[in-house]
């Protein structure tokens, strides 16, 4: 299977607001499970109920979106991978925002979902453009480090390490980490506490 992620193109959904935490993305009651199956339908469940239908996830104009456009510090709080799993299972394949909480960012990378950031003014233009015309295609291009929509092509940032993992398809880290082979045991052997501080 080709796991490389160099470009995500599709419709986008705009979810405004800063510091949106993972408890809101997937309420804790849905973490009482031993698989990630079925999480997609519960994404933002409480926010949506309280918005009484006036939530971007319930807006027909954003149906079928594969790119989620968010504000600052998205995914803060709990480390629950259930949050990106729920969003992925709802169809999102990339996130564009002002900034991302680091554990959320790491979880997304581990699932092959890019999180890229835009300068505030560019993000505002992207949000306005998508809200004005949600049918347009938005392109997150990791190779070019850009996000493009009809309003323009904006420079996007993503740390080199995660970008490299996505571009070369090595975001499922286990196999890469295993490649280190005996170097893992060699590192352990250098750490005095691993062997009880031998004399």
């Amino acid at each position: 299977m080709d796991t490389r992620v160099s470009r995500v193109a599709g419709r986008a959904c705009v979810l405004r607001g800063d510091d949106i935490d993972t408890d809101r993305i997937i309420p804790a009651r849905y973490l009482r499970c031993v698989t990630f199956d079925g999480l997609g339908e519960h994404a933002f469940e409480d926010d949506r109920k309280q918005a009484k239908g006036d939530h971007p996830f319930d807006a027909e104009r954003f149906d079928g979106a594969s790119i989620l456009v968010v504000g600052r510090n998205f995914g803060c709080g709990s480390s629950r991978e259930h949050a990106p799993q729920a969003l992925m299972r709802r169809g999102f394949q990339a996130f564009v925002g002002a900034s991302f909480a680091e554990i959320f960012f790491g979880n997304c990378t581990a699932l092959g979902l890019p999180c890229v950031t835009l300068a505030p003014a560019d993000l505002a233009r992207l949000m306005d453009a998508v809200e004005a015309d949600p049918a347009q295609s938005v392109v997150v291009d990791l190779a070019a480090r850009t996000v493009a929509c009809r309003a323009g092509t904006f420079p996007a940032s993503i740390p080199d390490g995660a970008r490299g993992q996505l571009l070369d398809g090595s975001w499922n880290a286990t196999s890469v980490l295993l490649e280190a082979g005996a170097a893992i045991e060699a590192c352990a052997a250098r750490l005095p506490y691993v062997h009880g501080f031998p004399g």
Partner: protein, 467 residues
């Protein structure tokens, strides 16, 4: 040559190799797991046909889903029972030590690691839980991770990580009476913001941190994640060593002496360089209370809530959202806000010293008639110590419920939940919308002593008036 920080030393010692793009393959010295974020990781291992690489370096406990009124099996909630059974099966099959309720060592994962002596200076630690930053109190680098990364650690004992920058945070001077570690970290987050730590590890230092016990340092490091930091730590010192000596997993005899030498060597050098430095005057910190929907939205108990017209334009939408959810008024005092529930516990403030401070207040009165008040020890060991000191009787006599150990009302994965729009004075770590189990429930974060004070008065009040 400039000195090196603890992070530099520990990171370099645990580097297996550099990866393309500037990331590091980092060896993880201690891996902690619990029932919520591990079952899918084991399922992935099974699918890949991989065993655990260093099973003796992973320890398990059950905390999030255990009911605190009775831990009897089968657990009343069939989903919770299924999760506990999955953990038992996975631990047995992969050769991992499980501290279950029958072991006498069960408790919140971030409470038992330190008290067993598993958490030690100079280690790298990972756990599928954002509050893993807690363990930094010992001078360890402790990372909260997701489930795919739990799989990585089980399979390879390593993580792919980018080296964070370091922000040194000095808290100078001396804390006033009635001001606690919780107030210190709330003040830090208020100053630097809930996203201010993105890209950083926080190194906490200064006279206030030096004077703190390990349990207080655990509270500070615990909420590093609430400040957006990747991790937080305090350099190991005599306090650290005194705490560790004699703990079950701490080295003994000649190995102890060698351990002490190594632990001291990993502390930051006096001339270490930092990407950023921040200083707070500890004497100026007052008992603090959150009023909004993130931990940065907090005020001193004597202050009034921020007015919208005084907020920078970029913050106004957040403030409006917080006020709409909380039902509080801009410009109103926080003191006097009526509460419905009081919760003392969690990985932030569920340790013996927290319960003692709350008890000092609780013994001065009785819980207000309308208020439901819970005390939940962080672990079975904390519960035993508290019992030896007569704390359960003291709390019960004052009208508090005394419960069995677990995460309880911090996060709503067990029967302890808010109902409707109830407002809870809580010693936990997150005041997010819906965090305590009711989608419309409201949380005011504060120190355990402040929670006890609010429980007695039935409203937010200044604990200093009661000490």
């Amino acid at each position: 040559m400039a000195g090196r920080s603890l992070l530099d030393k520990v990171w370099d010692a645990h580097t297996v190799r550099e990866l393309p793009g500037g990331q590091t393959q980092l060896f993880i010295g201690l891996h902690l797991i619990h029932e919520v974020t591990s079952p899918q990781a084991f399922a992935m291992l099974r699918e890949m046909g991989i065993s655990a690489r260093f099973p003796e370096r992973t320890f398990a406990t059950v905390d999030h889903i255990v009911p605190t009124h009775s831990q009897k099996r089968p657990l009343a909630d069939p989903l919770a029972e299924q999760m506990l059974q999955a953990l038992e099966k996975n631990a047995a099959e992969y050769g991992i030590r499980l501290f279950d309720p029958a072991s006498g060592h069960q408790g919140i994962v971030h409470v038992i690691g330190p008290e067993l002596g598993l958490t030690q200076p100079g280690m790298t630690i990972a756990c599928g839980d954002s509050h893993t930053s807690t363990h930094g109190a010992f001078g360890a680098l402790a990372f909260g991770i997701g489930t795919s990364q739990v799989r990585d650690v089980l399979a390879t004992q390593c993580l792919t990580l980018a080296r964070p920058k370091i922000r040194r945070i000095d808290v100078t001077g001396k804390l006033a009476t009635g001001v606690y570690a919780k107030d210190v970290i709330l003040a830090i987050i208020r100053r630097l913001g809930v996203n201010g730590g993105i890209g950083f590890a926080y190194e906490y230092a200064g006279a206030v941190l030096e004077a703190m016990s390990i349990e207080e340092r655990l509270t500070v490091c615990n909420m590093s994640i609430e400040g957006g930091a990747r991790c937080g730590y305090v350099n190991p010192d005599d306090t650290t060593l005194a705490y560790l000596r004699g703990r079950e997993y701490a080295p003994t005899g000649a190995a102890w002496d060698r351990a002490v030498g190594w632990w001291r060597s990993v502390a930051s050098d006096a001339d270490a360089r930092y990407a950023d430095r921040v200083s707070l005057d500890g004497a100026a910190i007052a008992p603090s209370v959150t009023w909004g929907i993130n931990p940065g939205q907090n005020v001193a108990v004597g202050e009034r809530l921020p007015r919208l017209d005084q907020a920078p334009p970029s913050e106004r939408a957040s403030l409006e959202e917080a006020y709409a959810y909380m039902g509080l008024r801009p410009g109103a005092p926080i003191a006097g806000t009526p509460i419905d529930v009081a919760f003392i516990g969690s990985c932030t403030n569920g340790r013996l010293s927290d319960l003692r401070e709350a008890a000092r207040v609780a013994r001065t009165g009785r819980v207000a008639p309308r208020v439901r008040a819970l005390v939940v020890p962080g672990s079975q060991a904390v519960a035993r110590e508290a019992e030896r000191e007569g704390l359960p009787e003291l709390f019960r006599a004052a009208g508090f419920e005394w419960r069995e150990p677990g995460c309880s009302m911090c996060l709503a994965m067990n029967p302890d939940k808010l109902v409707g729009r109830e407002l809870c004075a809580s010693s936990s770590n997150r005041n997010f919308k819906g965090r305590q189990g009711s989608p419309t429930g409201r949380t005011l974060l504060m120190s355990p002593a402040m929670v006890a004070a609010a429980a007695l008065r039935g409203e937010v009040c200044d604990v200093r008036e009661m000490l």
